[in-house]
Symmetry: C3
Subunit: 664 residues, 3 copies
């Protein structure tokens, strides 16, 4: 477990450095990230490399016991580079060339730019690849730019040729007879600006993924060529950001990290946990928080501060979801530059800001638990399948302006989080063995391998939950020639007779489990979207119907359950997007069907309980009060020793505002 910050020694006189590093040490920091954005200091003129200052910074950090993460500086090239080589600058969708001076103004697929990136990374790797004080590398920073230059267009056409081999295949998969889009030559194919053919739009997103993966690969290769085996390589992603497929990008990395910013407002652990779980799911491994806000940011509408204590609870929350390090961004703001007003640990006057004290306490506490938590990770029985293809497809054709793939996923995630049930969020191509429940949140694009995996999963006794919009399209973003959920229809024992975007909510009459002694009936509402289901087999049970709505939905099945095989497998089809009360009722039913019980049902009160498990089966339980008030809870079977206070705790205990217990 690491605690640290991003530090930019190049902004300051060397006389100041030691004060900074001493203050880091005093705050309990164990790691420091340096180097990214320092290209103009590393290579002030073309071919003139200067790493002496960086060497000194590494030495100083090492002297105070801090390990070093080195960032490659390719997200911010020097002015001489973009000025001399104009083809390195990205072009936006309106044909405008980027201006130097912000970040990410370069085209990741510019051959010229790739050449310079390879060179600077290689030089860094030569210098620090064998330096054990550097424990790992971060490639670039927050990949995000999409280039719409003519160069990009040509590369896209070449990439399409690799993917589709023939124009006939492409024309067919994209239905280009529609609106006379038929391509008779590869070089006729445009980049999509605004809405366009769904096949083309999806292909372009994949091309962007390819572009960034190649860009990353160039740097990984340079580092690997020179580096110690112990040095790992990662990148800092941005949670739900969706400009490319993160499963592909992380395939070439040792583990994933992400930059967690709240911006305006406050942290809600029943939602933010999902972004941690997503990042953990990229590699199915623990991750780092490479950046997080020391109080506030500078780029949001209202850059309010986190409450006193809130950042600390957030840090523990991240740890609970598999974070092995928390690094604050940034240590101190440069006197100039776009982010002068961003939160930091050190103030304009060079002294610790109030926030520094909160980190210092965190440092002390991290030190107490570090050894026990090392080599533990979250273990879950529920998986959500999350697909960039599906999200892109829906974003391109929302059909209801308020339909958002992530919000939809959250309708299933949050009620589980409130019950302290953790989940894994995985690629639709992931192996599903070991799970009890799998949820498909609006998985509009359904690959064949997913169908195979899910069939195996259900036949082995798993409970599959298919939500609205799932299984409508193939991997070319083309409609299946069956109704939803496509090749899962038979497994589901039902299909979608018709889907409806809703202007007004539609009533849903929900029946309790008829096998239970007391029969419950609740009334809910389906919001935004509704799918009239049609059972396809006698075994299919209807769990809920739509009430009087637009005439078409009235009385149609809204939720079905189909038992599958002899191992207790089941498929639930959910044709409604339920209001929160009804959704809560549904979640209880799903859990019952899947045979899962919450580890501690206190989530709604703002207290999170989560476990990390070691390879030896040993469990660490984190109990986190995410509220500004004191909370008490009955530990019951969680009773144990609290590593922070050193005391043994059992029965009803009290948690201070934003307070934490780490029990073993």
């Amino acid at each position: 477990m690491h605690l640290g910050a991003a530090w930019y020694p190049e902004h300051w006189n060397e006389e100041r450095w030691e004060t900074d590093v001493r203050l880091m040490k005093e705050a309990g920091m164990t790691v420091c990230r340096i180097g990214e954005f320092a290209w103009s200091t590393m290579e002030p003129y073309e071919g003139g490399y200067h790493f002496e200052w960086l060497e000194k910074a590494v030495t100083l950090l090492n002297r105070y016991g801090l390990e070093v993460v080195l960032g490659t500086p390719t997200a911010a090239p020097p002015a001489w580079l973009t000025h001399r080589y104009r083809d390195t600058l990205a072009v936006d969708e309106h044909g405008r060339t980027a201006v130097h001076g912000n970040r990410c103004h370069t085209a990741a697929n510019s051959q010229t730019y790739l050449k310079f990136c390879r060179k600077i990374t290689g030089e860094m790797a030569k210098r620090f690849g064998k330096d054990a004080r550097v424990i790992g590398w971060q490639i670039d920073n927050e990949y995000n730019r999409v280039d719409y230059s003519e160069n990009s267009r040509r590369q896209f056409q070449h990439w399409l040729k690799d993917q589709y081999t023939s124009l006939d295949a492409l024309n067919s998969h994209w239905s280009t007879a529609y609106w006379s889009q038929t391509y008779s030559n590869w070089d006729e194919i445009p980049l999509p600006v605004g809405a366009h053919n769904p096949g083309l739009m999806l292909a372009f997103k994949r091309f962007v993924t390819h572009t960034w993966r190649e860009f990353q690969k160039v740097q990984i290769d340079e580092i690997r060529h020179h580096s110690l085996p112990s040095q790992w390589i990662t990148h800092n992603f941005m949670g739900w950001f969706d400009a490319f497929d993160h499963y592909e990008l992380t395939a070439d990395l040792d583990f994933a990290t992400w930059d967690w910013y709240v911006g305006t407002g406050h942290h809600d652990f029943t939602k933010t946990g999902a972004a941690h779980d997503l990042t953990r799911g990229f590699k199915r491994k623990n991750f780092w928080i490479m950046e997080t806000q020391p109080g506030w940011v500078n780029w949001s509408g209202v850059n309010n501060t986190l409450n006193k204590g809130e950042a600390s609870a957030m840090a523990w929350h991240a740890v609970a979801h598999g974070a092995d390090a928390i690094l604050y961004w940034q240590w101190r703001s440069a006197q100039g530059g776009q982010e002068q007003l961003h939160g930091s640990l050190i103030g304009a006057d060079g002294n610790p800001r109030p926030f520094y004290e909160e980190v210092k306490v965190l440092g002390e506490n991290f030190a107490k638990v570090s050894e026990v938590i090392a080599n533990t990770e979250p273990k879950n029985e529920i998986a959500f399948l999350y697909s960039y293809d599906a999200r892109w497809s829906i974003n391109g054709q929302k059909h209801h302006k308020d339909f958002n793939s992530i919000d939809h996923l959250m309708r299933y995630y949050s009620p589980l989080a409130e019950r302290n049930i953790s989940v894994d969020i995985l690629s639709p191509l992931a192996n599903l063995s070991g799970y009890k429940i799998v949820v498909l949140p609006a998985l509009v694009i359904l690959p064949d391998v997913t169908v195979e995996n899910l069939t195996r999963f259900v036949e082995s006794g798993g409970t599959l939950v298919i939500t609205v919009r799932t299984g409508m399209k193939d991997t070319h973003n083309s409609l299946f020639d069956t109704l939803q959920p496509g090749k899962l229809r038979e497994l589901a024992g039902a299909e979608v007779e018709e889907y409806y975007a809703l202007l007004d909510p539609a009533p849903v009459h929900f029946r309790g489990n008829e096998q239970s002694i007391e029969e419950k009936i609740i009334e809910g509402k389906s919001e935004m979207w509704a799918e009239a289901l049609r059972p396809l087999s006698d075994s299919t049970q209807v769990l809920a119907h739509f009430g009087e709505s637009n005439g078409w939905l009235d009385g149609k099945p809204a939720i079905t359950l189909n038992p599958v095989g002899e191992n207790g497998g089941k498929v639930l089809m959910i044709g409604a997007v339920l209001d929160s009360k009804a959704q809560s009722f549904l979640i209880e039913r799903i859990l019952r069907e899947g045979g899962i019980e919450p580890i501690y049902t206190e989530g709604k009160t703002g207290v999170e309980v989560a476990k990390r498990v070691g390879k030896d089966g040993k469990t660490v339980t984190l109990v986190i009060n995410h509220t500004r008030e004191e909370r008490s809870l009955d530990l019951k079977e969680l009773a144990g020793q609290d590593l922070l206070s050193g005391k043994s705790l059992s029965g009803v205990i009290s948690l201070l505002p934003y307070g934490v217990r780490v029990l073993i």
Copy 2:
């Protein structure tokens, strides 16, 4: 009377075709629209024409008894064309060239593009012009693009030279001394981007009209050169869309059609009737609904479905307003392409969707009434004069952000529709003989010929209603040198002392007809706009005054009435934009002055009653329930035989939700 759909056989294997056509036939369809958007299938490479497939489709449709409307495919050129001939692509007002792959990305006035359009239309006409199975042609699809290329600018300058002959005339009509805009050379004249000189802005709109008319003319000429006299030529317009003057465009067509989409929300017959009446007014002839939504669309914010039954009521509503055909768009969605999620009659699995059944019932009912309704049309005693020039002028200078020409027209239209009083919407140049009342809704630009027509109309005993903003400018968008209503001042017996955009509504004290026994006084509000009127003759009566407002308006006349001549002619000047209750009071007064009585006063309850009349004077009455509830009404003198049920009806009858009666 026709029922049909748009079908794109080029999206599908020929093996599927017969199933589709059989299902059309079974739905009661009698017509099918094909061909538009199929250019890349008709001419897959330059000069290589392939119509065999189209021939097969026509033959198949004919075999099942469906007539064919053939669309020219010029709204969606092939990729090889725009790629090879870049000057065919339109340029937007920001100077960006359009990207291939959506529709209408070409410049209608590109000489190169016109050449290709002429060629493909000519080839189609050679092949199908003598084929009686094709009953008519649709040119292009929903004209809409405006091109801002340098080519367009040069053509605009040439066109201006034709219009104005001399720069002196142009400079004078446009008051170019203002802001030093004086042009000393034709090639100095720019295209208007954003706000610009009103004269230039209006001229540019007319130039766009000219451009589209020429574009259309090229194709009409090709078709007429080869076609049977029985084949008609039309275009599918878009209701209130205003990029060009529809009166000019329809001058060269046999009749008009339009594409009626609700988008988000639901149909309101007291408003949508106006778009039908507008389209009927283009040629003063019945029209077709060339496209309408089978449930929902894919391009709106919330693509909700029409309620069950609503589409059927909409179809009858269109018929009541003069539609002779209803075609759904589209039969089935392509598997790819931008409109995958648009409503259709056939689902992704190739089977009828729920909506198909509603159309089938409509098909049965159309068959029952078709013969009787043929050759009948709406006949009205009220005309509204609607002018594109006036609308453009106001849109360029709204003066009050919420002042919308169409909303303003609706303030007069809807209360009439609620009283089941139908109107004609006509060009300001139209002959007005036969009308009792003529309304000028914000006719800011007043041509001399309109003044002459209106003078003749009033002198012959007609009642003229002049509303706010009327008669302020000449046909160059230049202020008259008199106050409003310009050359109608004398006829009106009043002028506008001053106009005011209102921040807050102004009170209006309305006096009842003093000749009536009981004198009514009502209080209303003028919203957004007010005009202080000044009577110009002794005969002018003041029907309403403004109350205490901004100081300037207080006590000024708001509505005047001037009796004209010996035939009972009258002119009402309405200086207020009344709230709905006061407007309703005003409408009653106008009807009384004009001597018109509603045919059935049940409109406010959601039931529409409308008549179509044959040349022989025979009348068909449509009674349409536009609500989701059952409605009852007393037929009184409308009693007669219901063609749908075959029963004779009289007295109080009941209408099912969205139910219809067709009485003779």
Copy 3:
């Protein structure tokens, strides 16, 4: 004192002219502004100058006793000029070249354009510079355009070289090591588009200031070369408009004028006074209203009219704040042109509009007071320091989306205006002798000379009020290496421990002056922003604390007061942005500390009382009712002779709606 209007004789036939001038005279007008925008009439073809018509207009005006202000026409060049010399057209930040036909579409720093501007101004000056009928010149019109052309970029780079001498200095002041922005060559420096380095952004604003100043200088030099010493030179600015530093621009002018438009809504004298005070502060001299609306404008969302009488009250309000002339824009609208619907005095029919009558009464009243008011000006004891640098800095990094520098200034201005306490608004570089209170409203950038001036001011017994965000940055927009308020920390006896953008208001517990007999405690709220203060000396008193908020602020000092020296000097630090009730309480305290009493405490009732003082100490008091209702007030020591009615007034008097008294 002058009354007048802008007149465009070039829009009309000469036959009409005399009618117009006669009507001006009859309205009591004494001045007329002509010439600006008439370039195409003055120089219809390159090098062909035609001033005969202008000569005639001047002669005619003179014949009717009106003096002439001549505008140079450079805000609207002829079409032949921009068409032939494309490099005169401005380029916007998206790289688009402006289109001819609006105004200000030229680049003020185009060498070509400057050449033409010099020429036309020189020709005008030769013709009218010795003509005493022309009393003064207006350069151009409402400077506003910013040019982003390559030419502009090159000039910016040259200007930076002049400012910074070396790249090392620039790199250091801008902290360009940040994000690798380091410049190794002047020509690498970009223009800032969107957010950019704060140093670069601020420098660019100053460069734009420089550009306009040079543009203005070229014309001033031409005029001065030919003109009578009596002819003054000015420019019409736009109040709070902030594209350039108005203190610099006005340095080369004889006095300032501004164009006062309300747009949508109505006049609020507790706010609009500030714009007058700002304009007066540019030169610390009286000013002119060069344009104001005759009823309404044409460019706002709702172009409502001013209430009857409101414009008259506005005119007196401007006079009260130091206006020596009121000119309406415009006399009459051209028949064509973008501003057809703008308010005017003459209608489309050539006759006076209702508004003309209001001006006529004003003309009569101006005549009555003109002699007495001449050579008087406002005299105030409170100064606000307003800085363009500070405003630009905050706008570039708002940190809270609702934080607006002018609104913040108004939180101090309006409560004073409600108490009829006038203030001066001055440059931060201004000499402060003679003031009792100085307020720094969010003066984020604090120049050394300001620190020196303020220190001297406080040491001499002044009361300094430092508000939030003050003293954070140096004049390069770079963070100080101390906490706020920078070099004022010692004087203030306090510093800002931490600043916080607030999502929710924070409570502020305010203590009354403990020296007073009754101790008041009030509860307020700090909105948007809060600064936890840290006293630095024993003498510093805490006047208010923050209540329970985000945890960090809780209990921290919110307002402090530090007595300085032996002359009664004091510094108040205000760490809160108070709600209006608490702010009112604070203002009372500040006034008490500064030893200032209101001249008449009736402001909240809508009655303004203001004084102008002559060099001889004689005072004229204006009492203006800014409401639509009658108001009465007790004159007390203001009793005297009313110049308008000629009567002596004392005790309780009554004011008509929008009524005025001018007492001596």
